[in-house]
């Protein structure tokens, strides 16, 4: 019997050694250590042996089993290594399995950029209604009734006193009505003007800004807006403040940047002027403070507003503003 187990050992190790692939090893495993395998049967038969022979035989079987298993394991490793070496691999040029990913609307991207720049300067974000009253959109902002200044914006009316806000500025009046200085707010949102061509859509987005405190000066307005422009475009973007008119600010300033397309040489985008209008701004008009009940002797402040689409157009080189609202994924997918 002992002799038989030694034969099994020899034969099994030889078979492992000669095996060509994993499948062959599988059948060798079944043949020796499967339920009815030679080594398994041997173990089972141990109980039939005289008790004095059992310890030695048991020990021997265990040795055989251990040798078998370690040889098998070694052979598996070496076959796997051979397989890996023989494998020529896959076509890595085929496209990968990509989880789908959408895109944000460019207006959202730019609005976020603007808001985060001002947030980092300590401005709070507020939002307001899109359908406004004449009072907040015009009157409280120092636009008198029957004044040509109202024509600066083509207003959509719902009724005599209800309109679609033409700017995000009504929130200036709403914020000041509720809170006392110091105030630092920005207001992103949709605005409406009845005008439609290659550079105007009847709905667009603005971000309004307001800073009110004691001793805020025009120099501060220049400081805040200069650092904003340098952040949203780049440090090399030169800008100028030029006198303008808005009923709710005085002095008012239009902010121009050096044309980002031609760098000031003059091109179609900047109408050959080398400059691009980017922001309207100014010191809050005392008339607006009076509506809010602030002491105009002590309180000063500045306000500004910018068109999001316009900044996006300049940053991304979009030439037709109407593309923003067709929601063509060939367009949206580019951002």
């Amino acid at each position: 019997m002992n002799k038989a187990i030694e034969d099994i050992q020899k034969e099994s190790l030889e078979e492992i050694d000669n095996a060509k692939d994993l499948k062959e090893l599988d059948s060798i495993t079944v043949k020796y250590t499967g339920k009815k395998g030679f080594i398994t049967s041997f173990s089972k038969n141990l109980s039939n042996l005289p008790s004095e022979e059992r310890p030695a035989a048991g020990k021997k079987v265990n040795e055989v089993r251990t040798a078998f298993e370690s040889a098998l394991a070694e052979k598996i490793v070496s076959i796997k290594r051979e397989i890996e070496e023989a494998d020529t691999g896959i076509d890595v040029s085929l496209p990968g399995v990509r989880p789908a990913q959408g895109a944000l609307h460019p207006v959202t991207i730019i609005t976020r950029e603007i808001c985060s720049i001002f947030s980092s300067m300590g401005f709070n974000i507020a939002e307001g209604p899109e359908v406004e009253t004449d009072y907040y959109n015009f009157e409280a902002l120092n636009f008198p009734h029957n004044h040509p200044a109202r024509e600066m914006q083509d207003t959509y009316y719902v009724s005599e006193n209800i309109l679609l806000r033409t700017h995000t500025s009504p929130m200036q009046a709403r914020v000041m009505e509720k809170e006392k200085p110091p105030l630092k707010y920005i207001v992103p949102g949709k605005v409406y003007r009845c005008d439609s061509d290659i550079t105007h859509t009847p709905m667009f987005h603005q971000v309004e800004g307001l800073m009110v405190d004691e001793n805020i000066s025009f120099g501060d307005l220049k400081g805040v807006l200069t650092s904003f422009i340098h952040q949203i475009f780049d440090e090399d973007t030169s800008l100028r403040f030029r006198p303008s008119f808005f009923p709710f600010t005085e002095p008012s300033a239009e902010v121009d940047i050096r044309c980002v397309i031609c760098r000031g040489k003059g091109c179609r985008v900047c109408s050959q002027t080398g400059w691009l209008e980017i922001l309207g701004s100014g010191m809050v008009h005392p008339g607006v403070f009076e509506y809010a009940g602030y002491d105009t002797e002590v309180i000063t402040g500045f306000a500004f507003g910018m068109g999001v689409e316009r900044i996006a157009m300049l940053k991304y080189g979009i030439d037709d503003i109407r593309k923003y609202y067709e929601n063509d994924i060939r367009f949206l997918g580019q951002f």
């Binding site: 959202t108 507020a126 004044h147 009316y157 025009f218 120099g219 949206l332």
Partner: protein
């Protein structure tokens, strides 16, 4: 507002070149929008010599000319009587666009069989003179081949100023010149009013009565007799052309010329058409009809100020003259009007009549109340001079309400504080004086300032501060940084989560759309909303640009379905779009609507763009639901159930394919497949699945804080159960029942398979669930798990009347 450089030079010396000039005007607040070189077209017209002019063989009045261009000799057919051998002429070559050819370039051609390779021009055709007798005869000393621009050294520029409404003083060239003079440290030069011989007394010819002084505080008039209506002389026509006005006749041209010069609109009447030779300024009767100069009949209101004669209205005051009294070819008696009208009244009238003119543009912004008479005298003298008429002595000056100049105190300290400057009181004074404010020093900090009449925009000290800033130059104000209070400025919850949700949806493969907030009012029908649906309460816009933008949207869905159509039409069949935006439910046109922010999405086409590793597969209800489920789970919203919408609740989604989303007891929104009929209404060819959530309700379901749980120590055990239930049993109900079991060791359950078809009886389906069991403090034994699993399964089977396979 257009001005020309040469004309401006009449009133102020200009030493800057055109670029510098327009830059400094822009920086002074008069934004120069465009600069146009007026005679640019003369660059394409050359000096040429007629070598010979012979009679056209087939036309008596035409000549066939050999013309030397300096480079070669070409043949040109010419119709002018004065063309002859040896003449130096202006020749326009093919391709030239002249101001008189209406934008069309000249072409080579044949005239009565003779080829013509250019055009010999008259002064009129070149807009450099009015000589109409034939072609212009140029100085023989000019160099043949030179451009006319160079040869005649003609140079002028038209500048378009984008004037802000606060600066009506610059609606006349003198006002613009005043700004230039201030920059050059000089003062503006007023045009001379010629002291012409006058006779008689105007009061014997005509009288003026103002019945409504509030609407017309001042009315002045002058009279010219024996005037002869004719074309204006060239210099006058040239001035008008240089600012974009069309010459009409000498009298009308002079009124326009003086308006452009002074900013004061003028009107000329034919006195012979004024009954009773008098002018009465009064309000119209409500409903009166009146035909204006433009041949249109207008309906008047009692707020309209009319200029009338003894019997009838003859002009809408400050707006437009009437047909019944206009200057005609036979006019000889010219009654000239220069008046000051209430800006508000003019604006109301112009708006009401929908009639904006050069006059209303100025009157409604505010003309100089002190400039009325100067403009009258200037124009009257010009009319007398240029029409050969006789000026009648005297003027009528009715001025029941005198203009009062604005007087203000300005504090130096306040000015410097607001501007961030350190100007001395003298410097401030000097700036204000440079644009004709009268300034005196009251004390060391205070200036007493009287505004000139033409500065109607000045009413507060801050208006003066703006002048100081503007004249000092905004670029001189140093950049400073406000001291920022150290208060944090985190975005509010509503903004924070909107951004977060958008980012999550991106990760779920959705692209953001933004649609107009206005839609067509037919969309309620297209969505098949019932009559009593809130979304039929649409807020109408009074002045929409187009009908399909006529009302504020009450749903985000129509916009997204239109986007789907647009993209499908452009061969993008697979689409996943979402939109955040407000809807507007009307509370009546005289109130603000209820604005509710919605989050909606549409998905259609394949589950993915076509790829090699996976067969194309169309999206289903479950793809839309999966997006919503994932979103809500990421937002940590708990207790969400999705229940089937009843037939009545399905409006634009298909019954049996629509679910409402409920968290706690709040309805958040719905998911569904777009109904076939609605698909047809929106002209969609593919199946579409939508979701529509109320952002407010969604936000209120987001928990305030996030709770975590410790990771389990012991392994879990899973068991499956498959059961056959009737088809209309909802898996959601079974899951809910499972989840309701208060069994400590039961951890979770999920649907692992759904099967219908072969081997399953008609009207039934096979559902498999995988349950997970786990203990917190030991490794579970099979026996224990089996007991619980069998027990739970049994209860489910009983509850749902299920069978085992």
């Amino acid at each position: 507002m257009k001005v020309s450089l040469n004309w401006l030079k009449e009133y102020a010396p200009i030493n800057k070149d055109i670029t510098e000039l327009s830059d400094s005007l822009t920086m002074a607040g008069l934004e120069i929008e465009t600069v146009e070189s007026r005679f640019e077209y003369l660059n394409e017209v050359i000096v040429a010599k007629v070598n010979s002019a012979k009679k056209h063989p087939d036309a008596d009045k035409l000549s066939v000319c050999e013309v030397d261009t300096g480079e070669k000799v070409i043949q040109v057919v010419c119709g002018a009587p004065n063309v002859r051998d040896g003449l130096t002429v202006a020749l326009a070559l093919p391709g030239t666009i002249l101001p008189t050819t209406e934008g069309k370039p000249l072409k080579k051609g044949k005239i009565r069989g003779e080829k013509s390779e250019g055009m010999i021009c008259s002064a009129i055709e070149l807009q450099i003179g009015v000589d109409a007798d034939g072609i212009i005869e140029l100085d023989t000393n000019l160099t043949i081949g030179d451009t006319l621009l160079k040869a005649l050294s003609l140079e002028d520029y038209t500048l378009e100023i984008g004037l802000t409404p606060n600066r009506p003083d610059c609606l006349g060239l003198i006002g613009v010149a005043r700004e230039i003079a201030a920059m050059e440290n000089t003062s503006v030069k007023f045009p001379e009013v010629k002291d012409l011989a006058a006779s008689g007394d105007i009061n014997e010819h005509v009288s003026v009565t103002i019945e409504d002084p509030e609407l017309c505080p001042r009315y002045t008039a002058a009279l010219i007799l024996d005037a002869k209506v004719a074309d204006s002389p060239f210099w006058l026509q040239d001035r008008l052309l240089s600012v974009g006005l069309t010459p009409i006749n000498n009298i009308v041209d002079i009124t326009n010329f003086v308006m452009m010069e002074t900013g004061q609109p003028l009107h000329a009447f034919d006195l012979d058409h004024l009954e009773e030779s008098r002018i009465v300024v009064k309000r119209a009767n409500e409903g009166d009809k009146f035909t204006t100069l433009d041949d249109k009949e207008r309906t008047l209101s009692s707020e309209t100020l009319m200029i009338c004669d003894g019997k009838k209205p003859v002009a809408v005051g400050g707006v437009m003259g009437g047909q019944n009294s206009e200057i005609g070819d036979n006019t000889t008696k010219v009654l000239l009007e220069s008046a000051y009208f209430s800006p508000t009244s003019i604006r109301k009238t112009a708006k009401k009549l929908n009639l904006g003119t050069d006059a209303t543009h100025r009157f409604e912004r505010g003309v100089d109340p002190e400039g009325t008479l100067f403009a009258l005298k200037r124009a009257a003298a010009l009319i007398a001079e240029l029409t050969g008429g006789k000026l009648v002595s005297g003027v009528i000056d009715e001025n029941p309400i005198k203009h009062k100049r604005t007087e203000l105190n300005l504090s130096m300290m306040q000015t410097n504080r607001a501007l961030g400057l350190k100007l001395s009181i003298e410097e401030i004074k000097k700036h204000l004086e440079s644009v004709e404010f009268e300034v005196s020093i009251k004390d060391e900090d205070t200036l007493f300032v009287i505004a000139p009449g033409f500065r109607v925009d000045v009413s507060r000290p801050v208006d003066l501060m703006e002048e100081v800033a503007r004249l000092e130059g905004y670029d001189k104000i140093p950049v400073t940084h406000p001291v920022a209070p150290s208060v944090s400025a985190l975005p509010p919850k509503v903004t924070f989560y909107r951004d977060k949700i958008k980012d999550m949806l991106l990760g779920l493969g959705m692209t953001e759309a933004i649609n107009y907030s206005f839609i067509g009012d037919n969309n309620a029908d297209l969505l098949m909303l019932p009559e009593n649906d809130d979304r039929r309460k649409m807020l109408g816009i009074l002045n929409p640009l187009t009908e399909d933008q006529g009302v504020m949207r009450t749903s985000v869905i129509p916009g997204l379905l239109q986007n789907m159509k647009h993209n499908n039409a452009n061969q993008n069949k697979t689409l996943k779009l979402f939109e955040f935006g407000n809807i507007f439910i009307s509370n009546g046109q005289n109130q603000q609507p209820t604005e509710t922010e919605m989050l909606a999405g549409v998905i259609t086409g394949g589950t993915k763009d076509p790829v090699w590793y996976q067969k194309e597969d169309s999206v289903s209800f479950y793809d839309a639901k999966g997006i919503v489920e994932e979103l809500l789970e990421r937002l940590k919203i708990e207790n969400v159930t999705y229940t089937s919408l009843s037939v009545d609740e399905c409006l634009y989604t298909r019954k049996g394919y629509s679910a409402k989303i409920i968290s706690g007891n709040k309805e958040i929104g719905l998911i569904g497949k777009v109904k076939t009929e609605v698909k047809e209404n929106f002209d969609l060819k593919q199946d579409a699945f939508i979701f529509e959530l109320s952002y407010e309700n969604l936000l209120s379901a987001v928990p305030e804080s996030l709770n975590t749980y410790p990771l389990p120590i012991y392994p879990s055990v899973t068991r499956d159960i498959t059961m056959i239930v009737e088809k209309d049993v909802e898996a959601g109900d079974i899951l809910k029942e499972f989840k309701g079991f208060k069994e400590k060791l039961f951890e979770s359950v999920r649907v692992s398979d759904l099967y219908e078809g072969d081997n399953i009886e008609e009207g039934y389906k096979s559902l498999s669930f995988r349950l997970t069991y786990r203990s917190e403090n030991t490794t579970l034994k099979d026996k224990k798990v089996n007991k619980i699993h069998t027990n739970m399964s049994k209860r489910i089977i009983e509850k749902f009347n299920a069978k085992l396979p």
